[in-house]
């Protein structure tokens, strides 16, 4: 079980938390103008990074608040947790390792 450092309450066991998926996924600014591809990206496509991953957690059985975390998905170790609205303290991977040639 993970020990998760809630930025509001301090370290607590994973059982108190709900995972909230990838962090920093912004809803299209003007939904009526967003194309099908932009909606697909927002609704369905995720980085699924192997390495440092930015994700949301909610301290569901604690303060109830959402916050963000950077976790290494190859070790499950947290690098940082930070409050919603704050910039990630460490850069996370995007999942796309290389664009290759064209």
């Amino acid at each position: 079980m993970l020990i998760i450092d809630c930025p509001y309450c301090g370290p607590r066991p994973e059982l108190e938390f709900a995972h909230g998926g990838q962090a920093h996924v912004a809803r299209p600014a003007d939904p009526s103008k967003a194309t099908d591809d932009e909606w697909t990206e927002y609704l369905y496509l995720r980085n699924n990074t192997r390495g440092l991953y930015a994700e949301r957690w909610r301290h569901a059985r604690g303060c109830g608040r959402f916050f963000n975390a950077i976790r290494d998905t190859t070790t499950d170790q947290f690098v940082a947790t930070y409050r919603s609205g704050e910039k990630p303290p460490v850069a996370a991977g995007t999942g796309v390792a290389s664009r290759g040639t064209p």
Binding site: M1, L2, E14, L15, F17, A18, H19, G21, D36, D37, W39, T40, E41, L43, Y44, L45, R46, N47, N48, R50, Y53, E55, R71, T73, T74, T75, D76, G95, V96, A97, S98, R99, G100, T101, P102
Partner: protein, 417 residues
């Protein structure tokens, strides 16, 4: 290929079993192939076998970063069934179930397919309605499934607790008699041996580190830890690591990878004649031929590539198992382990072309890929050989998410997610 038969067994018995040969070659990568499959699990090995056996492509290779069958093929709970709700899914999974039925004969390898029946329990009024809907939908699609009363369910699986005084009493069950189990390792080995006999190179300890593309963007080869391999067709069948491999070609997929755990008890005499699954309280169990009870737990909450999960997930499952099967309460659990499963938003797989020419993907099998091994492999081989999907896997594209044509087994699938 050394054919297995009663006669060959007898002959080798007289020779002290010294005459058995390796079942496949330990191949080194050649400079160029007509097609390369990435991922040496059941789905990838099967795809290579069908490419060679049915589509005449024999100058092909499988590259596997570890050893064959060492990923989810060797880590699952081996349940086989086809009782999915939607027409597209029923066609896909039943195609697979039909291939399981004579797979041992086709491969000349005993995959120990055992259609012992898969029973799914209903614990609430909602469960009863949903499961009956499944039964009717399945029968409409020609997939066998029948509704059982709690007493019928107990008659089929005598160790089941149908007392009404438990937290989630059994209110009924659906039974697919054609469903069952198979021996997971032999599926990988059987396909590997049969593919090797047709000339397919099985290259282990060879991790893909890049996808080479030409000026027009089409695939022209793979970078691997064992050098560059030229090829115009790459089929990726890498389960939990599909996002990573497709990322080398800049393709983003609607996938998230989660740890999924399973565990086995100490071996006991035969007590359980079938597979029992419960969606609501999240437990499923069957008994392997060597006697251990094979128990499937749920996915962990967070994405991960670690091939391990948290103990509280197993504890939760065992609580449910102990309530449903009181006789297992004093059994010791021997081992638990995790695999990394790639889950799509609608819990249906993707077997399709990608936007990159020459690059194909078979992924998104999530928590239930083992049952689909032969069908998935068969259809993936077809898709690679023809550069277009077979009618059965035509709906299972990447574009279905953009086009709003989801095959939404997420709520409808008979297992908990």
């Amino acid at each position: 290929m050394q054919k297995f038969s009663a006669w060959s067994l007898l002959r080798e018995a007289f020779g002290g079993h010294q005459g058995w040969k390796s079942q496949w070659r330990r191949a080194a990568p050649k400079a160029e192939y007509d097609a390369v499959i990435v991922g040496g699990g059941g789905h990838g090995l099967g795809a290579a076998y069908y490419l060679a056996a049915e589509h005449g492509l024999t100058n092909i290779a499988i590259v596997e970063k570890g050893w064959i069958g060492g990923g989810n093929t060797g880590r699952n709970t081996t349940i086989i069934r086809s009782n999915y709700l939607f027409d597209e899914s029923a066609a896909l999974y039943d195609h697979s179930l039909k291939l399981w039925q004579d797979l041992s004969q086709v491969l000349n390898y005993n995959v120990m397919f055992s259609p012992r029946g898969v029973m799914m329990l209903a614990h609430t009024v909602h469960d009863v309605q949903v499961i009956k809907r499944h039964v009717h939908a399945n029968r409409g699609n020609g997939v066998d499934n029948e509704w059982l009363t709690p007493e019928d369910a107990k008659a089929f699986c005598p160790i089941l607790n149908i007392e009404r005084n438990i937290r989630y009493p059994v209110l009924g069950a659906a039974l697919q008699r054609r469903g069952g189990t198979a021996r997971h390792d032999t599926v990988a080995w059987g396909y590997a041996r049969a593919a090797d006999a047709l000339g397919v190179d099985i290259i282990e300890n060879c991790e893909v580190t890049g996808i080479r593309r030409d000026g027009a963007g089409a695939v022209e080869g793979l970078e691997t830890t064992r050098g560059t391999i030229r090829t115009r067709k790459v089929g990726v069948s890498a389960a939990g690591h599909t996002s990573v491999v497709l990322g080398y070609a800049g393709v983003r997929l609607p996938l998230e990878s989660f740890p999924l755990q399973a565990l086995v008890s100490e071996p006991v005499k035969p007590v359980m004649p079938c597979v029992v699954m419960s969606n609501t309280i999240h437990a499923y169990m069957s008994q392997s031929d060597k006697g251990d009870l094979v128990i499937g737990a749920g996915t962990d909450a967070y994405n991960s590539y670690t091939q391990r999960g948290a103990l509280h997930i197993n504890t939760h499952t065992l609580e449910a198992i102990c309530e449903l099967f009181p006789m297992v309460r004093r059994l010791k659990m021997m081992r638990n382990w995790g695999g990394i499963v790639d889950v799509t938003p609608d819990r249906s797989p993707i077997i399709a072309r990608t936007p990159v020419k020459g690059l194909y993907v078979n992924c998104g099998w999530g928590t239930g890929g083992f049952k689909a091994t032969p069908g998935s492999a068969h259809l993936f081989a077809w898709t690679i050989a023809h550069d277009e999907p077979h009618p059965i896997n035509a709906p299972f594209t990447i574009e279905r998410f953009r086009d709003g044509l989801l095959i939404d087994e997420a709520a409808a699938a008979a297992v908990a997610h």
